[in-house]
Symmetry: C2
Amino acid sequence: MLIVQKYGGTSVANLECIEKVAKRVAKTKEDGNSVVVVVSAMSGETNKLIEYAKHFSSSPKQREMDLLLSSGERVTSALLAIALTQMGHNAVAFSGRQAGIYTDEVHTKAHIARIDATRLEKELKDGNIVVVAGFQGITNFGDVSTLGRGGSDLSAVAIAGALKADICEIYTDVDGVYTTDPRVEPKARKLEMISYDEMLELASLGAKILQNRSVELAKKLNINLVTRNSFNENPGTLITKEENIMEKPLVSGIAIDKNQARVTLRGVTDKPGIAAEIFTTLAKENVNVDMIIQNVGHDGTTNLGFTVPENELDIAKIAIGKIEPANVVEYDSDIVKVSIVGVGMKSHSGVASRAFQTMAKEGINIEMISTSEIKISLVINAKYGELAVRALHKAYELDR
Amino acid sequence: MLIVQKYGGTSVANLECIEKVAKRVAKTKEDGNSVVVVVSAMSGETNKLIEYAKHFSSSPKQREMDLLLSSGERVTSALLAIALTQMGHNAVAFSGRQAGIYTDEVHTKAHIARIDATRLEKELKDGNIVVVAGFQGITNFGDVSTLGRGGSDLSAVAIAGALKADICEIYTDVDGVYTTDPRVEPKARKLEMISYDEMLELASLGAKILQNRSVELAKKLNINLVTRNSFNENPGTLITKEENIMEKPLVSGIAIDKNQARVTLRGVTDKPGIAAEIFTTLAKENVNVDMIIQNVGHDGTTNLGFTVPENELDIAKIAIGKIEPANVVEYDSDIVKVSIVGVGMKSHSGVASRAFQTMAKEGINIEMISTSEIKISLVINAKYGELAVRALHKAYELDR
């Protein structure tokens, strides 16, 4: 098998951790696999470099930030290759450029444009373990670029795609994807597998294990992703296409997003295009509007409700204040969004009604509802958030 | 003027130092010059990375060491460009690769093969301050290489050559080149200018301000080098071709090299090619033989004497022990080499005799003598080393 493994900052936090990673990589190679390893910077290094830059400027030049920040991953990749060589393996380290990762010119959050895998393919053919500095690439101008938050995951997935790897393992300090946050519900179970779409919903709902961009790329390239814990031998969670999952569960997980605030406009001004004006104004200020509900009140006036991230509420308030779109504008940051995610919903009815019954039984008022093919989201009062998660986890039998 | 400035590790030791360097660079630009800055890693960084590598292997792979070590200079170059930008200047940072520095494949001590200055020329034409990570380049295979000890000086000189710069300033923490070590002779004077050849002799004799490779390259490319102190505004010492020095001094400086040991072979075996065998054996062990004296004794047997670096004496002893080349072999590490350097010697007689008279006057026995066109070296008992330096400094009127 050709395996791409990615180790995050906590997995390569210090020299002892790098040594442990080297042993795991060596084992994978000794088991008869071809191995490409993608590494992050040692934890704390990137933040240190950012602080250095902030010493000189509150908004340092992004092109130079990329040259600065890309150094951390290079250090880890060189050290890991040195450690593997000492163990008797032929290991070769590469920067993003050397690995053939070409990006666009959006410095500090570049997108991978293409991968020229010629050099990596040659090294693998020669039987070498390939170690690649994650998070970075090179623009068509020859400048160093970085891929933004979660960038090393993206590097790993893109390389797995270019090399047609059998599997791409993402190592962190947790065992995999859970049916819900184990800190909220101790009965949460680790999932054996989950579809890309479910993972995307869970990720965007606050499960921090994988960034959406990486899952999206894996889905696009059809890469079997596995999230594993680098500190134990547990098998992790496979993220794959729906067709590969034989027994599709009705519900795979319950997510809770506490970083939400609700905006309610009552008696929206009777003016054509007012809704468009509101959302265009918010988009200009980079406020991410999520759930939107519109309905006509008893008196014929329109009511409009939507949620925004809590930390963007102040910007939203200022933007809305400028256009005076309604008689009454209410803001409520004392809410949470609880979501039920599962591909089984597509083919089963009654999934939503079980959620409503569960909320009713617990006496929790549902303030907003939004559904998609594989997700039901409920906005409720913040104080009931964890109770709702536990009740739904039980109602959908996720603890079994 | 087009000025290349190189700042060493002590000059960019920390963020405050980098800020001071930025001010000096900005001032040079504001005075109407085009500026290219070459920087070393922040002092301590390179040693830290070497220690990291040594944690895994006592002889880490050199290709990976280069990827590892090159990161320090990249950090400094990015930070300096960010600092300059904050001051209102357009500054752009480049890695060695981006600066177009191509080297051979001798990792960790590569030689610069050629410089493609296209990008740097474009940036200068656009009015930008160019900041380049020193010490590093790229091989024809696209791998990162480093230039070995003193590598950032080499980067600066080579870039100055490629850009046909008017001057290449090397900043350290000393004011320039002195007539002798001021710690030995407080009356030592800083030289205004010195020829490449004199500097080469002084450098190889222990003046640590510049590595020989950089001076050799400057001579080859005909670059006016200036060594200056980054912590003050003193003018420094110009190192230039002999033709540019109007008043050629008889003697420019007195150097003392305490890292020398003497090997004396008495009654060398009467065998053809025995001398060749001795020196070939030593060369194989990488022992640098310096002064060599051979003479025939009263009894017709041959005596052979030479010096080797003191820290290579043990290796030399083992090598010589294997071939038993003489009746008596003596080793003496209790010596120093004192050298008188000056281009004026070429056209003046009596320079050597003044040295001998001075030694005689001080009652110092000369054990070995070696002369070149611009240098006289004397091997004497170590305890007289500093006395000899002071006496010669006065005898050649260097204190005036």
